[in-house]
Symmetry: C2
Subunit: 161 residues, 2 copies
Amino acid sequence: MPEREFSIGELAKRTGSKVQTIRYYEQIGLMPEPLRTQGNQRRYGPKHLARLAFIRHSRELGFPLDAIRELLSLADVPERSCTAADAIARRQLEAAERRIRQLKALKMELKRMIAECQGGKICECRVIEVLADSSHGHCLSDHRAAEKDRRPVPRHAHLTA
Amino acid sequence: MPEREFSIGELAKRTGSKVQTIRYYEQIGLMPEPLRTQGNQRRYGPKHLARLAFIRHSRELGFPLDAIRELLSLADVPERSCTAADAIARRQLEAAERRIRQLKALKMELKRMIAECQGGKICECRVIEVLADSSHGHCLSDHRAAEKDRRPVPRHAHLTA
DNA sequence: CTAGAACCTACAGTGACTGTAGCTTCAAGA
DNA sequence: TCTTGAAGCTACAGTCACTGTAGGTTCTAG
């Protein structure tokens, strides 16, 4: 079975990550150091694949690396710490719900703006007004809630296309 | 009316931003250079307040600074750019909708995870298994879609508390 | 055997801030 | 008027989670 060991490029392809990212995870101790070939190239097995898949999936779901590290530590010692995992999941759920509420508010404003622009003429870009007015009545986003957990916004959310 | 000019600290307080952040926005050209006192301290007026409020609110909604810059440029020249505004708004709307879809998928996974943990006992914690399995049938998040727009995940989403 | 793809290390750059050091200025009270 | 301490100033380093580049080495298919 020559399929049991594969290169970093293979691993990257199979998990949808980048080669650089894998090396980075190794560097920060999120991925274990793999075996090397004579020529010093990394060789991975199914365990590495599973672990990286776990990490990537968690990242896609918005977990920061610290939380993933925590989760992985639970995986490494699977007995007795369900409550910890549960707490993490609950925190993530709350954050996701908050974010969804904010984005829905944004969506509505954008729709309204597009509708108003549709009319043609000179656009009264109400989005700008709306966004400028921090105390507007029709915005559903919960500024206060966001403020409470002291992480006012995903630092780098890249909503633009 | 002595209320018409205020310090950077005041501005920060009124918009819920940090002093450093305001200076940073000035540095990257997102905020205009304000007047200074004899002693070289910044003095702001209501226009600055409005602009910063706009920026902060947009950031809270997840817009990256580039998008905000674009939006602001429209606000600065409100006439004649209706189509441009419309295009931007549409792009943002799409992005927001995509993001909402992803977050809803996340939400459901987390809920299921929590529900499964609910069983309690020692450890039927499927949380990790669920996330580790990249080819699981019950995951609704659209990996492929996420991959398509080449921004696999908010780089630094900090959904954790 | 050779071309070129994929690998290696090491380090710089990104976005959007945040923190620190070491000064100067301002506002209020004695 | 003087003084004290908060708030301001500049300049630069650090953060997270990568991403990119330079310059060299190794692997593999023809």
